[in-house]
């Protein structure tokens, strides 16, 4: 307990410092008790979420890429808007690595607004007055869908690393079963960024007749060696934390805070750009006139990263982080088609919109262009826009008017083609 108390104090002081420089992050954490309260809430959301759930029983096992099948399993989801009579107006949103199903509602753990309220909502490009918008927590996640924090029915204990490794295709297969549950034959659109974009490409490739339009943002058809490298750093940080307990921390009553927060710190750097970091923080010092010749957070960027790392621990399960990163690492759509990416989309009738950002070095434009060229070669209908932005990979979650106008134009045109919108 001594260790965790100390960590809590570290966290609070870091958060307080961060509040000073990051008013726009709306930091509310001021009490030490808050940290443990959110940890409890986090476990609660993993096992007994606020979101509605669909349980797939023994009669509906999920075949996984690893060769085993998962049964039973559960998906937690959020939905917005109304499904029309012929069930033709459904849009599936696929969330990113550390995202969740809370696209356009207040988050049950953090109390923050939905992560894509800029894009999804009444009158927004993904208009919830017009479309039935669905987002499920991915398989292997920690916001209510079956993941490593879920109870393994065979042991009565959390799965931890006994959960089979989940792939992007597994996530999508599970989502397809959720769509079946709603009686939806074809999704009007599947939309996602980063790992969500990988799911979009997987949907369009493996379930092409069930996707009328696909929007893949800041993503690629494979995870690059550099990206795998960053993920490996993160995983090693989690697993090196003595509190991780070989993945059995929930039973041990510990939290590998340091490990997961270091993983998040490293990953967070990859979501930004050098220009954005420099503009925001430069070499500015944190609440001091001079460097201290020590290893405190002298620089604002250090304080910011520490805050990002620690607050992430409050909402995310460390083992789920291992599973999510692995899923992205394994993704390679071309490899599934003997190295020819175009074959992944052969004969596709889906309309594609590919979006990249100039300063994204995690999924640079070249990755998107490769997808666009493969779609060209497959004769598919594709729009490809590169948005000028210096905000790095995270730009897809931010207010980027050019991205909104491209997605808006694409969705409206697709809606006209599908007869959901007057000509």
């Amino acid at each position: 307990m001594t260790a965790s108390t100390k960590v809590t104090i570290d966290f609070v002081s870091t958060a307080t410092i961060a509040t000073g420089i990051l008013l726009n992050f709306r930091v509310k954490m001021t009490k030490a008790s808050r940290a443990s309260a959110t940890t409890d809430q986090k476990i609660q959301e993993a096992t007994n979420p606020h979101s509605p759930v669909v349980d797939f029983g023994a009669d509906k096992p999920l075949p996984l890429d690893s060769g085993v099948s998962l049964s039973p399993f559960r998906l937690a989801y959020q939905s917005y808007g109304e499904l029309n009579a012929d069930k033709s107006n459904a849009i599936l949103i696929c969330h990113a690595l550390t995202g969740d199903q809370h696209v356009a509602n207040v988050h049950p753990v953090t109390g923050k607004p939905g992560w894509w309220e800029t894009l999804v909502g009444p009158g927004k490009p993904v208009d919830t007055d017009r479309y039935f918008v669905l987002c499920s927590n991915v398989l292997g996640g920690c916001l209510g869908s079956t993941g490593p924090a879920s109870i393994n029915p065979e042991t009565g204990k959390p799965y931890a690393l006994d959960l089979p490794v989940i792939t992007i295709a597994d996530m999508v297969r599970a989502q397809a079963m959720l769509i079946d549950h709603f009686g939806i034959k074809q999704l009007f659109a599947v939309i996602g960024g980063s790992m969500g974009g990988m799911q979009v490409l997987e949907w369009a490739s493996s379930h092409s007749d069930r996707v009328f339009a696909a929007v893949a943002i800041a993503t690629g058809a494979r995870h690059s060696s550099q990206n795998i490298a960053f993920h490996e750093v993160g995983r090693q940080a989690v697993m090196a934390d003595p509190e991780w307990k070989e993945g059995r921390y929930l039973e041990a009553g510990t939290v590998p805070r340091k490990g997961l927060s270091v993983a998040r710190m490293a990953a967070h750097i990859t979501y930004l750009s050098e220009v954005a970091l420099h503009r925001k923080f430069g070499r500015n010092l944190q609440d001091r006139q001079n460097v201290t010749f020590g290893f405190d957070a002298d620089f604002q960027i250090e304080s910011y990263l520490r805050y990002q790392g620690m607050s992430f621990v409050d909402r995310f399960d460390p083992n789920a982080y291992l599973y999510m990163t692995r899923a992205m690492d394994y993704f390679d759509l071309a490899a599934e088609h003997e190295g020819r990416l175009a074959d992944a989309f052969a004969g596709s009738k889906t309309r594609f919109c590919i979006v990249s950002f100039t300063s994204d070095w995690l999924f640079p434009t070249s990755e998107s262009r490769t997808v666009a060229h493969a779609l060209n070669a497959a004769g598919a209908s594709v729009s490809f826009v590169e948005i000028e932005s210096d905000r790095g990979h995270d730009a897809f979650l931010l207010d980027e008017p050019e991205m909104f106008s491209a997605i808006n134009g694409f969705i409206r045109s697709a809606a006209r083609a599908k007869g959901l919108l007057a000509q």
Binding site: R351, R369, H373, G379, S381, S383, E386, S405
Partner: protein, 204 residues
């Protein structure tokens, strides 16, 4: 990629050459104006490639299937005979390798429609002859050092190139400075002098 600032009188001519319901690729589609016209007037299945990001983003916002790309380097990604028509409007003169681009157009499309400003027009000729300087006209407003039009040709030059790549001229239209069609039966030499721009329908 489209660099002529002239009002696009060639669009109507191009549209008149396209059969309804066909598959069309517009290379250098600008802000998508021609594609939109072809979709609404001819109900085509239209796609576009455009060099400028601004043009691409505007086209996509209009609901068109357009990608960012370069006529010189990105046509190779398209399959053989993927389209009924590949259109290159007012762009040929801005490519690095026009002959290669034309060959690619005829590989991708059953037919190619190419429009270009005629450097053999009498205004251009007299400008160079009388002033002794590279012509800068209303329709071609760039100075020699900043023009994107690096490979100007005349109508006669273009006809020669179609022979070299083995293309058949199915039809051709020359427009005068007012955008009016020149008499159909006039010889190439007449068009080459009075045509301000030309539109060719080619078949491989």
């Amino acid at each position: 990629m489209s660099v002529n600032t002239n009002a696009r009188v060639d669009f109507e001519v191009i549209a008149s050459l396209v059969k309804p319901g066909s598959r069309v690729l517009d290379v250098g589609c600008g802000d998508g104006e021609l594609l939109e016209l072809l979709q609404s007037a001819k109900n085509v299945d239209g796609r576009g490639v455009e060099l400028s990001q601004k043009g691409v983003n505007e086209s996509v916002a209009r609901g068109l299937s357009v990608i960012q790309g370069d006529a010189d380097s990105d046509l190779k990604y398209y399959p053989d005979s993927g389209f009924d028509y590949v259109i290159l409007s007012q762009t040929l003169q801005a490519t690095r390798n026009p002959k290669n681009v034309l060959t690619e157009l005829l590989r991708i499309g059953e037919r190619a429609i190419v429009s270009f400003p005629n450097f053999g027009h009498w205004r251009v000729r007299t400008s160079l002859a009388l002033n002794g300087r590279m012509p800068v006209t209303k329709d071609l407003p760039y100075s020699w050092y900043d023009t994107p039009n690096i490979h100007f040709c005349t109508i006669s030059d273009f006809v020669d190139m179609t022979r070299e790549v083995g293309a058949e001229v199915e039809s051709a239209v020359a427009l005068n400075a007012l955008g009016q069609r020149l008499g159909f039966n006039m010889p190439w030499g007449f068009w080459n002098l009075f045509g301000q721009q030309a539109v060719f329908l080619l078949k491989r």
